[in-house]
């Protein structure tokens, strides 16, 4: 089993989710994060005090997937998350030792 984790631009989420579904993902988990990288942040000014905010809002998506499907999901994220502008984010793959569905106790591919 693998875990595909992606950091994407928030406004790409709907498309990425759709692409993942079409690539066979039956579920996913998403959270709000802040990213720091090449993409420039912005400046905020409060009563003259200037703050350079170099963190940019991103979404973090996690998808559990059978080993053989990982590449397809990575491809889906890249396809749908891509805008070509700096800050599109990253996707990475981790090996998992075990995945269990809490409701049923099913393990591995059955748990998805």
């Amino acid at each position: 089993m693998k875990l595909v984790t992606a950091i994407i631009k928030p406004f790409r989420f709907d498309d990425v989710k759709e692409a993942l579904r079409q690539a066979g993902a039956v579920g996913l988990t998403v959270s709000e994060v802040q990213g720091f990288g090449r993409q420039r942040g912005h400046t905020e000014v409060y009563r003259g005090a200037e703050y350079t905010v170099d963190l940019v809002p991103k979404l973090r998506i996690e998808v559990l997937v059978a080993d053989e499907n990982a590449d397809a999901l990575v491809g889906a994220v890249i396809g749908a998350g891509h805008t070509g502008k700096i800050g599109d984010g990253k996707v990475w793959v981790t090996h998992l030792e075990e995945v269990i569905r809490i409701r049923t106790g099913e393990r591995g591919v059955e748990a998805l």
Partner: protein
């Protein structure tokens, strides 16, 4: 001069001013979190620039001696000069300045209302320039027509107790024109654009409701039985507007929503605005209810006709104003305010309804056309619309270098 009446009008002026921050929150809660400061700012800037423009020249254009044809006031009262001689044609037992202040608050909230239509996509400098020109070119003439005794509509026999034309129809049709000029938001209508904070919107609705007592009952310009009737009518129309909207939501198969309650109450108060001091309590119930139901239906129009009136200013203020003006022509009765008129249902025949219809058509047409021209010109010269990238990032950081809420990844995590 009556201290009691003065107290009432000054207090009412305060209440109407308070409606604009209330509107800022009402609108602010409905937009997405990256755009909330921008819409609040658009309301506050009206409190700034309109106040100044009003005392410098606006009041004179609206309430000065008629410059001809009942179309606009002359410049005799520029800078509030000669005000000690009173407001031309009006017999007030309050200080003229109290009247100036009261009317100033109307001039402030009307352009602020427009901002709801074009929410989430305007450049701030463009909005600023637009508002100043709009005030002088669109608001002041219509205020003269309907509110000044020498205005052609008021003089001709049209009634408008507290701004059904000047504020409601005017803002609604102006918003429609502005929306058409600046175009739709990116992603509309496909992307979900849910309100980011309904408690903020409900708070705003509460402030609007409270302030509307000053708006309508203050328009009696005295603390008397007309004012009392106007206050009761405001309350009743708000109530039935709220109920009407919720019932319509249920009949359409959905649940009663809090945004619907707030919207319906506002629709009811919009509709009673022109009629508040001219009709009895029972007609007020009907006017509010009609507005609640019809404005809900009018909201759907934008999907049919594909204009993106973000916060439904046309549906609620434009249509609500039309409903109120026409039903005033039906329900008005001299028994409430002898200075008023009798409508269709009070044995007055079709005359008043005709006057009201004329007011509706002329104000709506003028507001729409003149605003379209003003917006086009400002868009060309200054630019009204932000870039796509700024619209996606949000107006707050791109137009105002601020963020509404600082949590994680907020400036707290930034460096100085």
């Amino acid at each position: 001069m009556s201290a009691g009446d003065t107290a009432w009008v000054l207090g009412s002026a305060g209440l109407v001013l308070f409606m604009t921050p209330g509107l800022a929150l009402f609108y602010g809660g409905m937009v997405r979190a990256q755009h909330v400061l921008a819409i609040i700012m658009q309301c506050f800037i009206c409190m700034g620039i309109v106040s100044v423009a009003w005392v410098v020249v606006g009041f004179s254009l609206a309430f000065g001696h008629d410059a001809g044809g009942g179309l606009i006031g002359n410049l005799g009262l520029v800078g509030l000069r000669h005000l000690s001689q009173g407001v031309p044609g009006m017999h007030l037992d309050i200080p003229p300045l109290a009247f100036v202040a009261f009317q100033m608050m109307f001039a402030i909230i009307t352009p602020a209302l427009i901002a709801g239509g074009t929410a989430d996509r305007l450049r701030f400098p463009g909005f600023f320039v637009f508002i100043v020109i709009w005030l002088l070119v669109v608001y002041c003439p219509i205020a003269h027509w309907s509110f000044s005794p020498s205005g052609w509509l008021a003089h001709g026999g049209s009634l408008d107790f507290a701004g059904g034309t000047v504020v409601e129809i005017n803002s609604g049709f102006s918003a429609l024109a502005a929306v058409i000029v600046v175009g739709r938001r990116k992603g509309w209508p496909h992307d979900a654009m849910a309100p980011h904070s309904l408690p903020l919107t409900l708070l705003g609705a509460g402030i609007l409701w409270f302030g509307w007592f000053g708006f309508n009952a203050g328009s009696a310009l005295a603390a008397n039985s007309v004012a009392a009737q106007a206050l009761v009518n405001t309350q009743l129309a708000a109530a039935t507007g709220l109920l009407g909207w919720l019932i319509a939501e249920r009949l359409k198969g959905g649940r009663a929503t809090t945004l619907g309650a707030a919207s319906g109450a506002v629709a009811g108060m919009v509709a009673i605005t022109p009629a508040a001091g001219y009709v009895g309590s029972m007609p007020a119930l009907a006017i509010g209810f009609a507005a609640g139901v019809i404005c809900l239906l009018a909201v759907q129009l934008k999907l049919r006709l594909s204009y993106d009136d973000s916060l439904d200013v046309f549906a609620i203020h434009g249509m609500g104003g039309v409903i109120g003006m026409l039903l005033l022509g039906v329900f008005a009765t001299r028994s409430i305010d002898p200075a008023g008129a009798n409508g269709l249902a009070s044995g007055g025949g079709w005359a008043l309804l005709g006057h009201e219809a004329l007011s509706v058509v002329s104000c709506a047409a003028y507001a729409f056309c003149a605003t379209w021209v003003v917006a086009k010109v400002v868009n060309r010269l200054v630019g009204l619309r932000v870039s796509d990238a700024d619209e996606i990032e949000g107006l707050d950081t791109t137009q105002h270098s601020e963020r509404a809420y600082s949590g994680l990844g907020s400036a707290q995590l930034g460096s100085k």
